[in-house]
Symmetry: C2
DNA sequence: GACGTCATACCGACCACTCGGTATGTTTCC
DNA sequence: GGAAACATACCGAGTGGTCGGTATGACGTC
């Protein structure tokens, strides 16, 4: 069964979970919270999920699939130049910073903080989701490297992790400050770094590392 | 009463809270957990703290004070050049990535993720701690800017937030991957970016932004 | 009539917090 | 100096509410 043919109640529960967990955290959200948000009864919940932890794992996967198709359909893929596609990704991430933190923030980053030591299955699900998202960036990074910085010593994968780290960390500051301004500013720095990395006139700076 | 003259039991409870919350998250840690870790009774806990939330606020402050003096005493402050001091900070952060994630990870980043919407007092305490840590970096950033990039359009504060975002985000990946390797790699990218920002031969790249 | 999809009442473990106490100082006042 | 009065630190068995999970039955649909 693919994600698209989930039963409607189950889908509503999963979507509700994304919202509630992102705003209250995992441990603090109760099953009743999710049922209320989804307008579904508890009996229905336990018909579709074995346990709260089971929901978390499925919610993480649901999140990954939704965001994957969300980014797949974005415009920035159309650019011919791989560097433009990469910078387009960063710009796109900046452009979707609307509403409150729970709206634009990453479920997996939130979830894993609470569960990495105590809930191995959830940690694994978060790992898979985040890694898949990074993997989707790799072809563009590799292509841009081949074209603009073939001699560079850093790996495409390392760049992918760096990009995601900036995003995840910036989300924390969005929560602290209750506004996305610092996210935008950090993404501007990230964008500048990528431009510098892929501009040919700075190979000298690489030697210092 | 200053922080240094806390009663021993209270100090043990605060230190235990730092450990337990960083490994299990805030909502999932019970007061009994903390008492056991601190080898202190529950009665003693409620003698020193009004509530669990009260502990969280005090733990955040305790964390800020401890880390502040920890960084204050580090060697990198001795460098003459402000840029060296800044890069020294980054290197120092990389050098303390030992043990498991709960050991080197930031309490405030973990705490705020769970509480920013539901516990205003805790969110504020996290904000104050993180802001104070960034403020401590500002003089060096400003001095480095004055010396190496006086024309730059970015602000020192923005750099401070960017540095902390990279760190906080990298910690999330340390938890996902259960090892600090990606943190080190991201810090290497951060270091390279700072070097590029403060090298005189890239003012042209600034105009693209 | 059997299966999938719920709805409702309920259970019991857990957990933040209370409360009546003890033990050990410390101050006050004659 | 010493007794009374008070303060601080601590103890740990409750308690009341919450929450994950269960039991049982109803309703439709094939």
């Amino acid at each position: 069964m693919t994600a698209t043919e989930q039963h409607e109640s189950k889908l509503r529960l999963l979507d509700a979970a994304l919202d509630v967990i992102r705003s209250k955290g995992y441990a603090a959200t109760t099953i009743d919270d999710i049922c209320q948000e989804a307008a579904v009864t508890k009996g229905s919940f336990f018909h579709h999920f074995k346990s709260k932890d089971d929901l978390a794992v499925e919610a993480a996967r649901h999140w990954s699939e939704s965001t994957q198709s969300f980014f797949d359909n974005a415009e920035y893929h159309k650019a011919e130049d791989p560097l433009d596609r990469l910078l387009g990704y960063v710009d796109f991430r900046a452009s979707i910073l609307n509403g409150d933190a729970p709206c634009y923030t990453c479920l997996l980053g939130t979830l894993v903080q609470e569960t990495y030591e105590t809930h191995p299955a959830i940690r694994t699900a978060c790992d898979e989701g985040l890694s898949a998202h990074i993997d989707a960036l790799l072809p563009d990074i590799e292509a841009a490297k081949l074209r603009y910085a073939p001699e560079a010593t850093w790996s495409a994968e390392g760049i992918g992790y760096f990009i995601q780290s900036v995003l995840q960390g910036a989300f924390i500051f969005a929560k602290v400050k209750q506004k996305p301004d610092t996210v935008r500013e950090s993404l501007a720095h990230l964008r500048r770094y990528l431009q510098l990395l892929f501009s040919s006139d700075q190979q000298t700076a690489q030697q210092q590392n």
